[in-house]
Symmetry: C2
Subunit: 509 residues, 2 copies
Amino acid sequence: MATKGKNTIIQTTPNDNVGIVANVNGLEKGMEVNGITAKDAIPMGHKMALCDLEIGDKVIRYGQTIGYAKTKIGKGEWVDALKMDLPQPPDLDSIPMPQPKRNTIEPLEGYTFQGFRNTDGSVGTKNVLGITTSVQCVAGMTDFVVKKIKAELLPRFPNVDDVVALNHSYGCGVAIDAPAAIIPIRTVRNLAQNPNFGGELMIIGLGCEKLQPNRLLNDSVTDASILFLQDEAFTGFSEMVEGIMQIAERHLHKLNARQRTTCPASDLVVGMQCGGSDAFSGITGNPASGFAADLIVRAGGTVFFSEVTEVRDAVHLLVPRTTDPSVAQALLNEMAWYDHYLAQGSADRSANPTPGNKRGGLSNVVEKALGSIAKSGTSPIVDVVAPGDKVRRKGLNFVATPASDFVCGTLQMAAGMNIHVFITGRGTPYGLAAVPVVKVSSNSKLGNRWFDLIDFDAGPIAEGTKTIEEAGWDLFHLILEVASGKRKVAADTLGIHNDLVLFNPAPLT
Amino acid sequence: MATKGKNTIIQTTPNDNVGIVANVNGLEKGMEVNGITAKDAIPMGHKMALCDLEIGDKVIRYGQTIGYAKTKIGKGEWVDALKMDLPQPPDLDSIPMPQPKRNTIEPLEGYTFQGFRNTDGSVGTKNVLGITTSVQCVAGMTDFVVKKIKAELLPRFPNVDDVVALNHSYGCGVAIDAPAAIIPIRTVRNLAQNPNFGGELMIIGLGCEKLQPNRLLNDSVTDASILFLQDEAFTGFSEMVEGIMQIAERHLHKLNARQRTTCPASDLVVGMQCGGSDAFSGITGNPASGFAADLIVRAGGTVFFSEVTEVRDAVHLLVPRTTDPSVAQALLNEMAWYDHYLAQGSADRSANPTPGNKRGGLSNVVEKALGSIAKSGTSPIVDVVAPGDKVRRKGLNFVATPASDFVCGTLQMAAGMNIHVFITGRGTPYGLAAVPVVKVSSNSKLGNRWFDLIDFDAGPIAEGTKTIEEAGWDLFHLILEVASGKRKVAADTLGIHNDLVLFNPAPLT
């Protein structure tokens, strides 16, 4: 890993036969780096061969095979995606099961934040009225009412941070009894119960939707907090609006009584995600986030990592980290389910890297996966949460989700995260209305250019002016500050937030 | 069909052995109607047996078998969903192909509206700046900028009606080369080209997304109208915002020069859809809309009807209406594709009716289908448009879509509709930001209660105070007025609009 001082090429492990170009403007042809002469102009974040490679030779990064040379590649040449064949993914049936192991994590004590404690034991980092919807049909109505609540009611409840409509595309014209429909249904259910909403559930339904509110939230919401637009009690639009305002006001009263109190860091539930990754993500932002993840787990907190197609090729490295064969099996089951899901649509995990990933130097999904899992740190994996499900155990959890940023974020929010860390190399303005998103840049070029969109720059790691450990501690402290409401994240300052996007592998009708 | 005068029970054809209760408060047990004594209390819109039925007897409505009696059902009893078995759907391989036929429609001349004519020959009914997005990642940004454009630029361009962000959930983390990915991709492409946007295309992209703007719109948009947030030319948020504002201003200038001119009714492209249907939909709202559809087709215009799972059980009645065996085959292909799509997700078309449909008296998908196709009128079906594709021929088109209201509406908008007719019995506040939605109630109970949310009440047909023909003509005239911008629809007056929701049968990665 990088040490302090100016680096121009980064070798992740001593066994690597490729290095990552770290200078902002890339290498020019003929430049000498670490005693090797560049044979091509190589852009920042891309790979240079550290020795001669014959056809069929392994290309090694992170000490793992990320591909096989398709052509002869000379020392100092640019190793781009077209020069490599993709390795086979690990065979799920031949990965040895781990032995159950004792937790040997060194505890980290004394770290706290100021959070909103809920009656179910969870802790919010914001105090938000979340308005759940059972169907997209009502979205225009909820958008209208949320504006009105913010203008007319919210000023009277100064302890409440925001009002958010949990709009989504589900509920009407869906095959509600198809096996996979359980995923979007439980996602909407668990989104409503995110710790930042303080248990103050209210639902706007239509009346004729497939996803009936009682199917959605059973007995966790009282009838008085469910409003159906089709209710015959309402004559016209303004009576419906008035009905919703009354329910909202009741919940705002209760939310307004919430106060921040000192909570141990063990109450953090941090969703780790990366999106718009480049080759630096796996060297800077992800390992620094992984270090912070380890600190949170050592403090007794909860950390999520996700994105099935991005861990699929590294799953043989994750299985030995599970605490129990049942957890390992759950992990393998999620991989197998996704393999089948992709195959049914005539796709496979090679569809994952984006054009931007490739331009950023990530040649294929194997290289992406090895960098991606760095954000999980080194802690044992204590549980696997199925898509849309809620977390059950403290510690490091694999939350199975697609890699699509906003789908992953929506599912991590449903799983119960109260703070989100999002690492990006290419840059995205990603944000969520109800949960603070700490955006981490993997390189300072982005960190500087997007000075008001990025919350934390991990770029100095590549430049050798900060170690992973230092950046990890800084990020950990930032997480505590954001969770305490003492620091606003960029997306919240600017007020730019993405839609919630459900994962629905079941058909529409 | 209903004649003028007070009706309490409606028999759709003389062969029907069930009738629909038309009184607002339903029938009480013991009430006598048309010489039959009600043996149960039967709610409005539900079916009463007009004769005794033995187990296995056909239950006939619209002159077609909608089910088989599961139990003995006495004359005057309530025939609810639980008393019927669902018939098999028509076997797609055994429907006889039609002979090619000459168009024998009686022309209807002299009807015009005031529309915005575009250079490609299409005509807008509104003058809207549509901001296309290539990925959900940018949605927070476009929402922010749309607000700013409306506040700061729009007042200077009085001929422009609105600015709309075409946000969607696609673009990142998708299997972009999976066969079914063509559907969401062409949907986003064709949404951008809806006639109401006047050909003034602009795109906000991120830069690293799977759905690259050039893949999305090829050469139909100039580079100067595409902005990537990741473009290194932008330092920070406000420079990005400024960049978008500049592109928007250029397009607003051009849109502001558009003027309404007199256009023949043949320039109408009307999307017919029903949602939240009840048993009246098939007697009042849908046949009246079907009558209006015939008038539009006679005037040389274009009409869409949709919702594959709602026509599947009536497809044997539609095939003879196609103008050519190739159109018939395209129709059958869409049905077969959908059968397979549902089966892959372990569902079938029986998943269609909603709890609200059933409470409204629609027992199953067969009954729903027979009522649903009434809105297509009686014209020949000249073409079949695949999901997300654009219309090619004037006349009555089957636009293949799921039945989910907002998904169907999004796909009809992509197909090029410039006005939308939406028939509902239960009620929904449905609206689209870019295309006016005329909401039609199937019963006056809803029409009266939702006086400011419904644009046209077809309920008087059931009450016998208006004929289908009269209501159809009234609706036709209303469509012309709305298309001319002389009358605002309820959703636009209130400002409540649904999200665009793509149909993506391909997997996420």
